[in-house]
């Protein structure tokens, strides 16, 4: 009995001390961490919507979507969306105009593709193809030739799967967004 009390007592004391220490520390760290996260989002949004100067999260939806505007007049949206790539998840930030037809820009936020091969989807030479790309009909990719149609991008040589994965993520993300718009939920 005495031992049991001693065991409980020691563990509780250690727990209380560590708990209070950590709560102090997290009080200092949390705002900083939140700030970093916010800055990352902000940076990504303005990269895919270079003309914009303000953005606002649409709170009524159950996934992340940002309204982007110049001086309070809406110019489009920024959609962080993820899907599976060659080895793991790819997370993109997609910039769109008001009608959800043209892409204003695209950035890869997170990916675990093959280094030196699939990771080329993050490079400027690939992502810049998405600027002013028309997304309706669905985006397609072609191999080994320059893109000619307005809804085409050139796939990366040797990384067809990663290139196609990016397109698939964008297409499904936009599909979802359009059906939301049709339901009138994008207000």
């Amino acid at each position: 009995m005495k031992l049991a009390i001693k065991m409980i007592f020691t563990l509780s004391i250690i727990g209380i001390i560590s708990g209070s220490l950590l709560s102090k520390l997290s009080g200092w760290a949390e705002p900083k961490i939140a700030k970093h996260r916010l800055e990352d989002t902000k940076k990504a949004i303005f990269l895919v919507q270079p003309k914009a100067n303000t953005y606002k999260k649409i709170e009524s939806l159950d996934f992340e979507l940002y309204k982007v505007s110049i001086n309070d007049s809406l110019i489009g949206y920024a959609l962080p969306y993820s899907g599976s790539g060659f080895q793991g998840n790819i997370r993109l930030m997609i910039g769109l105009d008001c009608n959800l037809i043209k892409i204003t820009g695209m950035r890869v936020l997170e990916q675990v593709e093959t280094p030196g091969l699939g990771t080329k989807v993050t490079e400027e030479s690939f992502t810049c193809q998405f600027i002013d790309l028309v997304t309706n009909p669905l985006i397609e990719c072609i191999k080994g030739a320059k893109a000619t149609k307005v809804n085409e991008v050139e796939a990366i040589t040797g990384a067809t799967i990663s290139s196609k994965a990016v397109l698939r993520i964008i297409n499904t993300g936009l599909g979802e967004l359009r059906s939301l718009k049709a339901e009138g939920k994008l207000r």
Binding site: L3, K6, T10, L11, S18, L22, A29, K32, T114, P115
Partner: protein, 224 residues
């Protein structure tokens, strides 16, 4: 046990009982984060910090903790320091924290840390425990730095971000993939083991020759 010198208490972790190459502890961070030298250093420093402070705390309260709940108590203390490291890194070095991903919180289950508490800190004084922790930390740092360095040089042409291999050297991408970690660790261990076997053989040969000399001396003396 107490007659071991303080210097030896520190240096045993660096080489003779190196946590990675000899004890083969903490393989998860060793293999997963050593894609570059800087990641290796950061991981080793974070682990050393946790190891050092938990060793100090645990060795100083080792007589108060009831034996039945010692593991729970150790884990509580270790987890506290791991959370401290995690929060500080996220707040101050967001880039590094992103690169190391989930492996910082996973220090909690690194066998190296709990192993040293159970095997050493719970039986030794504060000074010796701290030295032991620092020694193990140094050994861990050497191992992770050399692994990360080799993988970064071959896989990315750079070391600590500085390019040292010429441009015509085609990077071996396998080195920054998980398979490269296993290959590098395996070959390094094989090399170090062969060195250890050689030194042991030499020591043995020395001992035998000493014995023979002594025996001959004894014989000569006996003949006289």
């Amino acid at each position: 046990m107490k007659n071991i010198s303080l210097i030896k208490e520190y240096s045993k972790g660096v080489w003779k009982n190196n946590p990675v190459f000899i004890q083969v502890l903490g393989m998860c961070p060793t293999l997963a984060v050593t894609v570059s030298a800087i990641n290796g250093i950061a991981m080793a420093l974070a682990t050393t910090f946790v190891l050092l402070f938990s060793s100090i705390i645990i060795s100083s309260i080792r007589k108060i903790i009831p034996a039945q709940v010692r593991i729970a108590a150790y884990i509580l203390i270790i987890a506290t320091f791991v959370t401290i490291v995690d929060l500080v890194m996220k707040a101050q070095f967001p880039e590094l924290s992103k690169a190391l991903g989930p492996y910082i919180p996973l220090i909690v289950v690194n066998c190296l840390i709990l192993g040293r508490q159970e095997a050493f800190s719970s039986k030794n004084g504060v000074l010796r425990s701290a030295l032991d922790a620092l020694g193990m930390g140094t050994g861990f740092l050497i191992a992770l730095f050399s692994l990360g360095g080799i993988r970064e040089i071959l896989g990315n042409r750079t070391i600590l971000g500085l390019q040292i291999m010429p441009d015509f050297f085609e990077p071996w991408l396998i080195m920054i993939l998980p398979a490269g970690a296993f290959l590098t660790l395996g070959l390094l261990m094989a090399y170090l083991n062969s060195l250890a076997i050689k030194t042991k053989k030499k020591e043995k040969a020395l001992l035998v020759s000493k014995f023979i000399i002594a025996k001959n001396k004894f014989k000569i003396e006996a003949e006289i």
